[in-house]
């Protein structure tokens, strides 16, 4: 007992005391885990076991501000969460397992996870036995501080439900973990609705859109109808956007008028034109110009690099933002509009004095879900007063910025994962 106690006491688990909710939680955001060598399962290869645990941790990372890294090198007491398999009396634990059937695992609060190796654990691709992935996600939920939740669909139900293929974390489980650790916040490189045309079987043209949030070299598809990101995001840019810089872009512009349509990505001094049909950047365009091209060449009078940009269909101008200035560029005359550049504050005045991003806008995003233009900076956004709104409330300034809100209060679960688990 003494050795065990000494080992126990040596763990300086930093805890976040959430007395208002009565729960404890880890106080740091990057947690280390390890499948301990004396606790390998005899049923799956070691690589399979580690892959499944890496995926299980990643699933919690996709819905919380926590990040998890597999640590196979530090001294054991520096590892926050240790996982191991055993049977009967196991791994120095005082809760012995009961053999095949019934209890398949247990977890220690802010601590370790034990799996009963007498159970028939299987990998994600199998539909027999007990899914090790589901059990691991459940037990990690306990370690992070979640109790059993008796709600159909919750991953934290005490009993194991036979394998459903699309096992994911639902809204309430996500809010339960965010209740302990907060929402996911951070600045974005750009945000946009990607629009493209599709021909229906009857020959009609359907126009569809998807919403994307990009941060450095990663992106999320945001499912507005489900108020969350696509399961399994973020993914690396080059997986979904072929040919744009793999470490990220500054801005996205979709020029769309009756006469022309073009999609551009901007990064540094250059810009790329995107081929929606073939889902990759153009090497050359119809005029034979090679890409990437210089911004100063393609958009005379526009400085680079830019912070963000958007195309306004009402006046057929691209608005480029750079520091505290905004540049209106006419795509008809291919030149800077007269009177520009102007201060952002003059073109987009605050509705509430003092509540304004001032400059260095991260993203200017026109949302087809909200029928509104948003300026994003850091973890905040300002909605631009629309013409319909001004028709109802004429006292509102043209292009006025409504008081800011927090991005994670309108778009949910846009969470980073640790770089080591991004490829999972």
């Amino acid at each position: 007992g003494k050795r065990h106690l000494a080992d126990l006491m040596s763990k300086k688990r930093q805890k976040r005391d959430l007395t208002e909710s009565g729960y404890m939680a880890f106080s740091k955001d990057v947690l280390r885990w390890r499948l301990i060598g004396e606790g390998y399962s005899s049923q799956l290869t070691i690589d399979e076991q580690r892959y499944i645990f890496r995926l299980a941790f990643r699933m919690w990372s996709e819905v919380s501000p926590l990040e998890f890294v597999e640590d196979t090198w530090s001294p054991l007491e520096d590892v926050d969460i240790k996982l191991g398999f055993g049977t009967g009396r196991h791994l120095g634990c005082n809760q012995k397992f009961d053999g095949t059937g019934q209890e398949f695992a247990h977890a220690w609060f802010l601590g370790d996870i034990h799996f009963d190796d007498d159970e028939h654990f299987t990998g994600p691709s199998s539909h027999t036995g007990i899914s090790l992935l589901k059990v691991a996600v459940h037990e990690i939920g306990h370690v992070l501080g979640l109790p059993h939740i008796y709600r159909p669909g919750s991953i934290m139900q005490p009993s194991y439900l036979p394998y459903e293929s699309s096992f994911e974390m639902d809204w309430t489980d996500r809010k339960a973990i965010q209740h302990l650790y907060g929402g996911c916040r951070g600045r974005f490189s750009t945000v946009f609705d990607w629009i493209r045309k599709e021909k229906t079987p009857y020959g009609d043209i359907r126009i569809r859109f998807n919403t994307y949030f990009m941060r450095d070299g990663w992106y999320w598809l945001y499912e507005n109808r489900n108020n969350r990101t696509r399961y399994g995001d973020p993914v690396a840019l080059q997986i979904g956007w072929h040919g744009i810089p793999s470490d990220g872009v500054d801005a996205y512009v979709h020029v769309w008028s009756t006469k022309r349509e073009a999609v551009y990505f901007f990064r540094g001094l250059q810009f790329w034109r995107y081929d929606n049909e073939n889902d990759r950047v153009f090497r050359h365009d119809s005029e034979g110009r090679q890409y990437p091209r210089l911004i100063s060449e393609g958009f005379p009078g526009i400085p680079s690099p830019i912070d963000s940009a958007f195309y306004d269909r009402r006046d057929s101008h691209i608005y480029f933002f750079r520091r505290t200035q905004v540049y209106a560029f006419s795509v008809e005359t291919n030149s800077l509009a007269s009177g520009f550049p102007k201060h952002i504050r003059d073109v987009f005045p605050p509705v509430e004095s003092g509540d304004h991003p001032d400059g260095s806008i991260d993203a200017a995003y026109y949302s087809y879900s909200h029928n509104a233009l948003f300026l994003l900076k850091g973890t905040r956004f300002w909605r631009v007063v629309g013409s319909l709104e001004r028709w109802r409330r004429p006292f509102l300034p043209r292009n006025g910025l409504m008081p800011h809100k927090e991005v994670d209060q309108q778009w949910f679960d846009i969470c980073d994962v640790h770089p080591t688990s991004l490829k999972v």
Binding site: G1, L5, A6, L8, M9, K15, S21, G22, T45, T87, N94, Q95, F97, G99, T100, G101, Q102, E103, H106, A107, W108, F109, L110, G111, D118, H120, E139, H142, G145, P147, H148, I149, Y150, R151, P152, P158, S159, Y160, S166, W171, T172, A176, H179, I207, R208, L221, R225, N226, N227, R230, Y231, G232, R313, S367, S369, H370, N371, S387, L388, Q410
Partner: protein
């Protein structure tokens, strides 16, 4: 590395001792209910009395005291002491405790609430499950914040969830275009050209199921205290 047996255990004769005991009678059901926290442990002072019954060496107690000061706690075994079957004589209060625990288990498990150890309850108790108690087992006297499991917590927990849930239904139609959401044909009023846009199921997008509404029940468990 070499695997010790087939994945589906087909080449293994699982020794009886390695099979979880099937719950067949009320005695085992009671063990199950107390193991997972549905039957409250005897009062706190009795537990302390038991602790003083067991003689600890001084330095272990010192360690134990230190452990207490540092906010860690030595895990108390939850193994129920082995006793032979049939010795159990239930007093009236114990029978009531058993029935109310059984009722609560049936309720949270979505079973018909009969208060009787019926077949449905027996099946549910023999299903594979997580070993973390559904309720706080031993209110850990030394780590107060972790042992809050009382009603006030459930209420606060419920409040939080009802509030979030309420927001969720409001938010499912977000923004000022309250009559539109992805997948519908959207009419844009902000632009001179009337466009109809509908949402896309993007190239490699696997559309998940919409998040269900949650009917939040009150009782909840505490993970094992470390």
């Amino acid at each position: 590395e070499k695997l010790f047996h087939n994945r589906d255990h087909s080449d293994m004769q699982i020794p009886k001792s390695h099979r979880a005991p099937v719950i067949t009678d009320e005695y085992e059901a009671e063990l199950f209910l107390s193991r997972y926290g549905f039957i409250k442990p005897p009062q706190q002072e009795e537990i302390q009395m038991k602790q003083t019954d067991i003689s600890f060496s001084d330095d272990f107690l010192d360690d134990f005291q230190t452990a207490i000061q540092e906010g860690t706690s030595v895990p108390l075994s939850r193994d129920i002491p082995e006793t032979s079957h049939g010795e159990v004589h239930k007093s009236e209060s114990e029978s009531q405790a058993f029935v109310s625990a059984l009722t609560e288990f049936q309720m949270v498990s979505g079973l018909p609430v009969t208060g009787v150890f019926d077949d449905a309850t027996k099946d549910a108790m023999n299903k594979p499950r997580c070993g973390v108690p559904d309720k706080e087992i031993v209110p850990n006297p030394h780590v107060v914040t972790e042992s809050i499991g009382g009603l006030e917590l459930e209420n606060s927990w419920n409040e939080t969830f009802n509030e979030i849930d309420g927001n969720n239904t409001e938010n499912s139609i977000i923004g000022n275009s309250s009559n539109s959401s992805e997948g519908d044909i959207l009419n844009f009023n902000d632009t001179e050209s009337l466009l109809t846009i509908s949402n896309d199921t993007h190239k490699n997008n696997s559309l998940g199921n919409p998040t269900g509404n949650s009917s939040w029940t009150s009782s909840q468990s505490q993970p094992l205290q470390n």
